[in-house]
Amino acid sequence: MSVSPQLPVLDFSEIGPRVGSRLADVRLPDQAGRLVDLHTERGHRRALVVFYRSARW
């Protein structure tokens, strides 16, 4: 009997920044080459921080 391969299940509660912790500082250039400090740019607003694979593929 053949078994079809299963994708290993990842537990994202253990991967990446933890819920309940303050996001560490992020300072990266944006699409205009301007250096952005995430928390400064955010100010006192809530935020969505979206990680994605690539804008190219």
Binding site: E41, L48, F51
Partner: protein
């Protein structure tokens, strides 16, 4: 595609004072080109070299290769260094209040879902006025989707609103054997994947003179069926079959199946 969906959500989120940041390992040049082409208003942050991604523990190494192998795709050298796709929700103090990381990169959030991540689910959201509906004895059903269009691999949610007539009930699945339980079945469509319908927990109901208790639904019920197109089928109808048996406190009507459909138009996959 997520970047385009985020842009669709941008105006509403800006109004509600929610900032948006997107991070990838792309160079500034790649991001500049994309931002111009797709008219992106929010910051696309360039983590070239994946240092931030790595520091956050979000480097998708082995799993990417395994995922590709699973789908029969060869991993290219340039693809190593990517992040796991997902969203962190920050509160006003910058603390992570929620985290949404997909298991499969092939199921992607829509603008509406991004808005819900930031603003919470609008559970009070009632069916749109023109939501297709079907009515049978003891039950009315209305269905709608978040948007009138879909792209392959996006989370399409079919919302189902059931209203049981007053002083009547329908049997829930795993209810009594002799009665037909409520079932929600999508008409199959090649290129459509259907997930498990989500329904609230039924209520226990006892009847005078009967020892047995039954699991039933009464009043207004909201359900949702998660769906995914694996290709652009162009204009498509999502047809739901609702099988049920409605009863009053003294008698039951014969089992019935209602059929109701919602139309969607297909758009092409955008690679991002």
């Amino acid at each position: 595609m997520q970047l385009v969906e985020l842009q669709d959500a941008w105006q509403n989120l800006q109004r509600k004072r929610v900032a948006i940041f997107a991070i990838s390992y792309d160079s500034v040049e790649v991001l500049a080109e994309f931002a111009e082409k797709r008219r992106i208003s929010y910051p696309l942050l360039s983590d070239e070299g994946s240092h931030t991604i790595r520091a956050f523990g979000l480097l998708n190494e082995e799993h990417l290769v395994q995922q590709h192998a699973f789908y029969g795709i060869q991993t290219r050298e340039e693809q190593l260094g990517v992040a796991y796709p997902g969203t962190l929700v920050l509160n006003a103090q910058g603390v992570i209040s929620d985290k949404y990381f997909e298991q499969s990169y092939r199921v992607r959030p829509t603008a509406r879902i991004f808005e819900e991540y930031a603003l919470g689910k609008s559970t009070a959201a009632s069916p749109p006025k023109d939501a297709p509906r079907a009515t049978g004895r003891g039950l009315e059903v209305r269905v709608w989707t978040d948007a009138r269009t879909y792209r392959p691999y996006q989370q399409v949610r079919l919302h189902v609103h059931l209203v049981v007539a007053p002083d009547m009930h329908v049997f829930a699945s795993s209810g009594a054997e002799e009665f037909t339980p409520l079932s929600l079945q999508m008409e199959p469509l090649d290129g459509l994947e259907v997930g498990q319908p989500a329904l609230p927990a039924p209520r226990r109901l006892g009847f005078k003179g009967l020892e047995e208790q039954f699991l039933v639904y009464e009043g207004s019920i909201r359900g949702m069926i998660p769906l995914r197109f694996t290709k652009n089928l162009g204009p498509s109808a999502l047809t739901l079959h609702v099988k049920y048996q409605a009863c009053t406190s003294t008698l039951c009507f014969p089992p019935t199946t209602l059929r109701v459909a919602v139309s969607l138009d297909g758009l092409d996959l955008i690679r991002d």
